[in-house]
């Protein structure tokens, strides 16, 4: 019997080797090292499928593989810092998603980068490889510190890839912003990591000695923790720790108010956007909450905050998506909004719903970005939707797959996004009574549904329907198999992924066993004790209340409402934009449009904050030069009265200096001798 889990490190290392190869020898390889990356991610994908099959067979792994820093004291307790793998249904699923999307992105890059004659390809493929490897390392991490470390490496890779076109002014600036804004979130995350280690003496995710288990035991009185900061009760402290870690999540998953980096990150090559938004960096934040859900479920306040941030971000970002002119910008805001939904689900106790939406979104958003990439190739890198139109007939594969992705994004039955979004709203609804923050999150999430459908189809109609509005749109550049292939795969997934978890059907018709994802994440086929949706439900604070009749009625009403709202948004977009020559209806919004178009001026606020920080730094510098160094120089001038003579001593002549040193030493010894009684 081969132990598949011993190959899990290879899943991470294969893309890492492709990074090394592309970096070291990419110049001499065909396609700038692309084939190395494709081979590596394909290998990782196959291994991940194998792991998935093994987990489905009832196996799981929680192993420490490498001691990074051996045991030592940190005050209240001893700790050992290590790397390991945690393979359970959640991480196995995520491995497959990440490696599949990474593989498709690599293939697509052949069309988007190589065929378009980009330079610096070895650097590009090295970046993709490292990005994939970092994300995979994060996914399999068995403890919070390792997760943080790979989380940061993901941040580095985003910097390198967003700033890929470093010779232009825009991308380096966007790259800096992405790293800096997420670093701000990671600051809190790092405090959280240190606090978890200090409190529990461990950062393990799973097992009886893991920090979620220890926290649970401490709260119900059957255990204790190593340390809490003076005077704080356990619940308060755990809430603080949870919120600290959440800082990193808010940064990476681009939640309000740290979402501002993400639209700028569109400066990166489009395949990179697909990777960042669908399967890696942005997904990392939500995945982290899911990974340590056993800890978050213990603290109701944290959950409520997560739900509210999520719901708010979902609506807030969707409104900004309404008025954007550039294809990728619309998608960027939709990403922020969709991750808001996942956060809402996690905060609402809908662990499975969140993972479900993470999965469906990974496929349909990768699809939309790659579709947008195909359009951008066709349009000779013009991204303005007002220059497009009528592409439907000229690029049918792109159109139909993009349409599938859009229907999924808008949440139209029976596309993937419908099922997952519906379940999120359902979970929020049944858990909301008596939870004002959660109820607020639910309402905002619901409101965002028609907005999402509207901006999505505004985008579709402007891009593909109507009459071509520019010469390039009349004669777009054709795309090749390496673009169409990934689109077809993802288009199919955007249609069918929803069927892995048809909870409404199961509930309404009473069909057992078609909510596969629920069973999967509930360790139905095996998994790790303490990491199951049931366990999270048991320790979580929520109970279900059906405000409209019973469970079945609530399911039906909820689904009908969200589908109705989505269709309304779609129809409005149809009415306004599915015409031969659409006009900018959003201009009628007047001042509101300006506010939305300028992202509520939040970027300006952050720039203003950055400048004020620089002002403070400048003030500190003046203080330092003037006062502190002034005192130093003042003291020295006073003591160097008659400085000419002293300067003569210090004129760089060795012998004089040596004489001075000797004299000084003699004097010292004399002083010493006198005080020490040497001469007495």
């Amino acid at each position: 019997m081969i132990d598949v889990f011993s190959y899990v490190p290879a899943i991470v290392l294969l893309p890492f080797f492709s990074f090394l190869i592309a970096l070291g020898a990419g110049k001499h390889l065909p396609k700038g090292g692309a084939f190395g990356g494709i081979t590596a991610t394909a290998g990782s994908f196959l291994l991940s499928l194998w792991v998935l099959a093994t987990v489905a067979g009832g196996d799981a792994a929680n192993r420490t593989l490498y001691t990074w820093a051996s045991a030592g004291g940190i005050g209240p307790t001893d700790v050992e810092l290590s790397f390991g793998i945690l393979v359970d249904p959640l991480s196995a699923l995520m491995l497959v998603i990440v490696t599949l999307v990474a593989l498709l992105v690599h293939v697509f890059s052949l069309g988007y980068m190589n065929d378009e004659g980009e330079t610096g390809l070895p650097r590009y493929y090295a970046g993709l490889g490292l990005f994939t490897a970092s994300m995979l390392g994060f996914v399999v991490a068995d403890n919070l510190l390792m997760a943080f470390m790979f989380f940061e490496l993901v941040g580095l890779c985003s910097y390198l890839l967003i700033g890929f076109h470093f010779r232009e002014p825009g991308p380096p600036s966007a790259a800096k912003k992405a790293f800096l804004v997420t670093r701000f979130g990671d600051y809190f995350f790092l405090i959280g990591v240190v606090a978890v280690i200090g409190t529990f003496g461990t950062a393990q995710f799973a097992g009886p000695e893991s920090f979620p288990a220890l926290a649970d035991a401490a709260l119900n009185g059957s255990g204790s923790v190593a340390w809490t900061p003076g005077g704080l009760d356990l619940m308060t402290w755990f809430t603080v720790v949870g919120l600290l870690v959440l800082g990193g999540v808010v940064g990476k998953s681009a939640q309000f108010p740290l979402h501002t980096w993400l639209p700028d990150a569109m400066e990166g090559p489009t395949p990179v956007s697909a990777l960042i938004h669908a399967a890696t960096m942005v997904a990392a934040g939500v995945y982290l909450v899911a990974r340590m859900y056993g800890f978050y479920a213990l603290t109701p306040t944290t959950l409520a905050v997560i739900a509210f941030i999520g719901g708010f971000t979902a609506l807030f970002a969707a409104t900004m998506g309404l008025v954007k002119d550039e294809l990728k910008q619309v998608l960027a805001y939709s990403t922020i909004s969709q991750y808001g939904y996942m956060m809402l689900a996690l905060g609402a106790g809908g662990y499975v719903a969140a993972v479900f939406h993470l999965t469906t979104h990974a496929f349909f958003k990768a699809l939309l970005f790659l579709g947008a990439g195909a359009v951008i190739i066709a349009m000779h890198h013009n991204e303005d939707m007002w220059d497009m139109g009528g592409l439907k007939s000229k690029m049918p594969v792109t159109y139909y797959t993009f349409l599938a992705g859009s229907l999924a994004l808008a949440g139209i039955f029976p596309f993937a996004g419908f099922w997952s979004k519906d379940e999120i709203l359902y979970e929020a609804l049944v858990h909301a009574p008596g939870e004002p923050l959660l109820f607020g999150g639910y309402l905002m999430g619901l409101l965002a549904v028609p907005v999402t459908a509207f901006y999505t189809f505004r985008m579709v109609f402007l891009t593909f329907h109507g009459e071509p509005r520019s010469d390039t749109a009349r004669d777009p550049e054709p795309v090749r198999w390496n673009v169409k292939g990934p689109l077809t795969v993802l288009g199919t997934l955007a249609v069918v992924t929803g069927f892995i978890n048809m909870v409404p059907v199961q509930k309404v018709l009473g069909l057992e066993g078609i909510d596969l994802l629920h069973l999967w994440l509930d360790n139905h086929w095996g998994g790790i004790e303490g990491l199951s949706s049931h366990h999270y439900g048991d320790i979580g604070p929520y109970s279900s209340e059906y405000i409209v009749g019973g469970e079945v009625a609530t399911v039906l009403v909820g689904a009908a409402v969200s589908l109705g709202l989505a269709l309304t948004g779609l129809l409005v977009a149809w009415r306004l934009y599915n015409v031969p020559s659409p006009t900018e209806h959003t201009a009628k919004l007047g001042g509101i449009k300006d506010v939305l178009y300028n992202n509520y001026y939040l970027d300006e606020l952050q720039v203003w904050l950055a400048y004020r920080t620089e002002d403070v730094a400048g003030g500190a510098d003046t203080f330092d030069q003037g006062i502190i160094d002034g005192v130093v120089n003042g003291v020295s001038s006073v003591s160097l009265i008659g400085g000419d003579r002293v300067r003569q001593l210090q004129n760089g002549v060795v012998s004089q200096y040596a004489a001075l040193l000797t004299l000084g030493l003699v004097a010292l010894i004399v002083v010493l001798g006198v005080t020490g009684g040497w001469f007495l």
Binding site: M149, F166, R183, V194, A195, Y657
Partner: protein, 510 residues
Amino acid sequence: MILEALIAVAFASALVVMLSPNEWAGRLAFALSLLPFVGSLYLWSGFDGSGNALTGGDIAYQTQIEWLEVGGRSVSWFVGLDGISLPLVVLTTFLVPLAILSAWTPIDSRQSQFYGLMLFMEANLLGVFTALDFFLWFVFWEAVLVPMYFLIGVWGGPRRKYAAIKFFVYTNAASLLMFIGFMSLTFALGDSVSSFALPEITGAIADGGLGTWFGISPDRIAMVAFLAMFLGFAVKVPIVPFHTWLPDAHVEAPTPVSVLLAGVLLKMGTYALLRFNFTMLPDQASALAIPIAAIAVISVIYGAMLALAQKDLKRIVAYSSVSSMGYVILGLIVFTEYGVGGATFQMVAHGLISGLMFMAVGVVYNATHTRMVGDMAGMADRMPVTVGILVAGAFGYMGLPLMAGFAGEFFIFVGSFAAPALPYAPVFTALAMFGIVIVAGYLLSAMQSTLFGPFELATDYEIGPAPFHDVAPLAVLLAAIIVLGVAPDIFFEMIRDAALPVVEGVSVNG
């Protein structure tokens, strides 16, 4: 005898290079400087010390020979290594050859003297990190200043005289203060010690050997001595507000000298703080935990804010050293194994990373002849490899995981967050940690405006890739930073072994 050989070889090399012709002094110095490095690797491979050299641990490669008598106490040639000093010895011998390589391009006059002084400095630095007798140690400590003074004052930039004198006078005055502090301590020990051997003195203090001296109570003497030594070393580290000599010295010093100044000389200060203040007088340190932690945090944040305001790349890196040294002080004052160990690890990590940064900035400067942020843009276009390594080094400075800087900082943070010896430890730690955001701010901004965007340079001449001997040391340093970041235990384990007795020395942890 290997330790003596190491130091002797460095001295002899200095002399040989000093007498060699300028044309091949650089190559000769590089070749000779490899000898101590190989020697230190040999020391590392055969290292069998355990515990702390000052608190009765097993000292590796120990030699103790009576030398002379001062004030009724014997002075001896007493050297040896423990888990704290060995990594610093390896760091020194590793950095010197690389620094010498980085001097080949910029140093174009009086080469034999330059390289001779570099090696002379190395010999004394090795002495500082190995000496276990106060007088011996002090001789090396002071002798380091001499080559440094000339290296800045002769080969430096336009304001080299000012910078060299400021460096020399400031640190020398501080040494005097420290010397007085230490002497008052030894004399208050009276007859309970018979030598200037540091282990003996440490042991005597721990056993309550301090007596009343000129009517001053032992507690007060210990506290005064602590403060005098702390201030003395604070200048060397440097800790805010005693840091203003550092940027001036760095800006004027030629690249290889900056490498050693930031890489090794600053660590003399933190090393001495650890050895003298925190090992000999732990309870005094512990009593001052809050103010010391406060200045550590101020050093981190204030140093980083100053770096943010700078326009000269070298000044940016110089001020960020002030910030990084703040972390070290925080790690020392919390008196935990990870804290003190992490502080020591951070000395090595920062030595490598700041060395890399100064060297990389130097290579860019060799080509551009300017270091000002506004004078150039898009350098990545012309010097891709150098800039690539510079970016990697900058991320190392920002504490990117799997690089040495993250390991050092993280050990310190983990060691300090829940430390019982420091009241409000979580607050101090969280405040200091904000440094990781500011450092990213100023390094990313500086890189964006100098390395990226369309190529631009105030002066107009062709710029090509740097020569191999400029880039090779950068690559070697980067490799070392990554190795140490992936496998920190190669040093961290022995460091913690030597740090543990220090931690146990403080009565809070008793």
